[in-house]
């Protein structure tokens, strides 16, 4: 097919198809291994949560004692699932938006294996009792250089693609992704070198650790999820982003506010007085970027209600953005220094906030992106609408339970902790009913994600449906009878050059 005889649309379709083809294995590798880690992480989360209300459960197993299972759960969630889902979305989005094929598949895949090895050894290290005792950085000290090097080997190509892209518009998604790609190594190197290599004051070290946690959420997971959402919302609805200036406000207010947040965890601890309260103020102010982006994206998605009802990508993205809005409200309500901060500082609320950010917002948007990207890179459609629906149902409702229960149960628990005239056991036992509910809802999420993993693995093996019709959440055309696949269900995906291959 010579370029003279084809139209621009065909050339575009060809380019998109070749980008997708070049990224098939890296994207599927990160998503599938990420989904496997997600299942492992949730399993550990269920075990840890069960131990809160039933401390005798699996008590003889040193590897699964609460103090090891819980950090393993969080670290597997952050580095095993979160980071890998972000890799898949970043490399694909950056290639598509910069209109460049990926030329480094081998390096990316090799580095991806190294990343998984690092995470695997790290999680086993925590469970075996070699954790460092620094929240979210519990992997034994050997792990962080391994993760850092493989991070660079995976994402440097996306940076290069952006540098050599054809001149033209820079998309909102690209701002967010580029910023996340720069912020993560900066934050990660800072925290790890300060805490592992340059021992300082122990309390300030704890402060850096609290800042690191917050920076991971707001300077990596948040921009990656927003980048993906700013791609999906206009792309799937076919409408432009509601307001470009609101998007700018959202981006730059995040960039300016988020780096100050995090140290409110140390309110009252002996570090300079301004640090925790500055952190509390910055976290509350994150309401601004979250609402700017959330409002903008929700308006964009609502511009096309029919698509919103049908598209699995949009449904997950919408749920994730609603999660962001709840996160924004929680950031304000949980961090008021005069009233709530002292109650949420050491209660379940902190966990609820983390889970809401990572699962209720970031992960749901990543699922939305997965449902969009995977059919394009594998050139197969999702096998089953029912599996997608079930995944949504259990994930969304499960996380609503886990996060809201932990947020508000944590407030009650904190009120109990502050009530110093009552015995301590009263405050401690206030958390137990919420822990029972949390075990139950993590189990639901685990159930849905095992199926998500299987669905993904089948797609990677190219066992998806060969069809031109995307798998939508409602049966498409009544005229096509009862088959959810439609009459053309068996037609092969016709390959590049056909305009429908988008």
């Amino acid at each position: 097919m010579s370029s003279d005889s084809t139209t621009t649309t065909d050339q575009d379709a060809l380019l998109r198809a070749s980008i997708d083809r070049s990224l098939r294995h890296p994207v599927m590798f990160f998503l599938t291994s990420g989904a496997a880690w997600l299942a492992v992480s949730i399993l550990l989360g269920v075990i840890a949560s069960a131990k809160v209300h039933n401390p005798g459960f699996l008590a003889d197993c040193a590897w699964l004692t609460y103090g090891r299972a819980f950090p393993a759960h969080m670290n597997a969630l952050v580095y095993g699932w979160g980071m890998q889902a972000a890799f898949a979305v970043i490399i694909w989005l950056m290639a598509r938006l910069s209109r460049k094929e990926c030329n480094a598949v081998g390096t990316i895949l090799a580095a991806g294996h190294v990343w998984n090895l690092g995470v695997g050894l790290g999680v086993v290290g925590i469970l075996a009792g070699y954790g460092t005792g620094m929240p979210w950085m519990e992997f034994p000290a050997f792990a962080w250089p391994v993760l850092l090097v493989s991070y660079c080997a995976i994402l440097i190509w996306s940076f290069i693609q952006f540098r050599v892209r054809p001149e033209g518009h820079v998309f909102i998604s690209q701002w967010y992704i580029l910023a996340a790609m720069i912020w993560f190594p900066w934050v990660f190197i800072t925290a790890n070198t300060l805490l592992h290599c340059m021992p300082g004051h122990p309390v300030m070290a704890a402060g850096i650790n609290a800042w690191f946690k917050s920076a991971m959420i707001f300077l990596f997971f948040t921009p990656v999820a927003l980048g993906a959402a700013y791609y999906l919302a206009p792309k799937v609805t076919g409408r432009p982003v509601f307001s470009y200036s609101l998007a700018k406000l959202g981006f730059w207010s995040l960039a300016i506010i988020a780096p100050w947040a995090g140290m409110q965890k140390l309110a009252g601890a002996p570090i300079p007085f301004f640090l925790p309260y500055l952190g509390a103020a910055a976290t509350a102010l994150l309401f601004i970027p979250a609402c700017a982006a959330g409002f903008n994206l929700i308006r964009t998605m609502l511009s096309c209600p029919k698509t919103l009802a049908e598209s699995p990508s949009l449904r997950f993205t919408m749920a994730g953005i609603i999660g962001l809005a709840v996160l924004a409200v929680a950031a304000v309500l949980l961090n008021l220094p005069g009233s709530t901060l002292k109650m949420t500082q050491f209660s379940l609320s902190g966990y609820g906030f983390d889970v809401l950010a990572i699962y209720g917002f970031f992960t749901l948007v990543m699922f939305g992106a997965t449902y969009f990207i995977v059919p394009r890179v594998t050139r197969r459609e999702w096998l089953s609408r029912r599996l997608i629906k079930m995944h949504f149902l259990f994930s969304a409702y499960g996380v609503v339970f886990v996060a809201l229960i932990a947020l508000f149960g944590g407030l009650l628990q904190g009120a109990g902790q502050e009530d110093w005239q009552q015995p301590w056991e009263d405050a401690a036992s206030r958390a137990i009913p919420y822990a029972v509910a949390s075990t139950f809802s993590w189990s639901l999420i685990l159930f849905s994600n095992v199926f998500f993993f299987l669905h993904l693995a089948l797609m990677w093996m190219r066992l998806g449906r060969r069809s031109l019709h995307p798998t939508l959440l409602v049966s498409s055309h009544d005229a096509h009878g009862s088959s959810p696949h439609g009459e053309e269900g068996d037609i092969d995906n016709a390959g590049p050059g056909h305009a429908a291959a988008h």
Partner: protein
């Protein structure tokens, strides 16, 4: 907006905060100056140095590796940040036989010997800043504090007073041995089966030594003492 401006903008917005809340405070606090005691106010010469005895470094390691910080904090917040000081014996003893009211908030000198202050994640259990003090004067009063802690670690709910505790048991910190000859003096008072005894392993010994070192209620120097003047002192 060119890539250059974009990266400059990012570096500025991130860099200022990074310097202000991370780098500068970290390196300033790295060289925390010792506090000279004033003879007039403190009644002592020299420098303030809260003494801790015990296997602090390796005990802190066991504490970290087994995730004690997930449920226990080690910070007694000032009253503007929480009610920890009012909790019975959290910040010190309300009425020590020799020293009177020893309660005080945690200060930056309380973590000497540790690499990372285990401020803690959640409070499913009580604060441990003065656990050593509480065990010695309250929980195991008159008995052996270490033995009390070993039995507590083996299974908290073996102690009828702690039936509501949701702390996990730690049988893996103990070694089950056959009794040969007379029973070991270290064995904990838990039924380990016929002709067997349970001995704390080296991790348990380090941990208990560390926990007993948690006595952060030494008299703070006047320069660090923010407590309001006592009423009886005024009278």
């Amino acid at each position: 907006m060119s890539l250059r401006t974009f990266i400059l903008g990012l570096s500025a917005s991130f860099g200022i905060a990074w310097l202000t809340v991370v780098v500068v405070p970290y390196f300033k606090m790295r060289n925390l100056a010792p506090i000279a005691l004033s003879e007039a106010k403190d009644g002592a010469k020299g420098f303030f140095y809260p003494k801790r005895t015990g296997r602090i470094a390796d005990g802190a390691l066991v504490y970290a590796e087994n995730g004690c910080y997930q449920c226990h904090t080690q910070v007694v917040r000032p009253t503007y940040a929480g009610n920890d000081l009012y909790r019975p014996n959290w910040g010190g003893l309300k009425s020590d036989a020799d020293r009177g009211d020893t309660r005080r908030e945690t200060n930056a000198y309380d973590f000497f010997g540790e690499k990372f202050a285990q401020i803690g994640v959640m409070r499913f259990g009580p604060d441990l800043s003065n656990l050593g003090r509480r065990v010695e004067t309250e929980y195991a009063a008159g008995g052996d504090p270490a033995a009390w802690l070993y039995e507590r670690l083996y299974n908290p709910r073996n102690n009828p007073k702690l039936w509501r505790s949701n702390c996990p048991p730690h049988p893996f910190l103990f070694e089950k041995r056959e009794i040969k000859g007379s029973p070991s003096a270290d064995a904990i008072k838990v039924d380990a089966g016929e002709n067997h005894e349970l001995i704390p392993n080296s991790d348990a010994r380090a941990l208990v030594s560390y926990l007993l070192s948690l006595k952060k209620d030494q008299k703070a120097p006047a320069a660090l003492n923010f407590a309001p003047a006592k009423k009886d002192a005024e009278n």
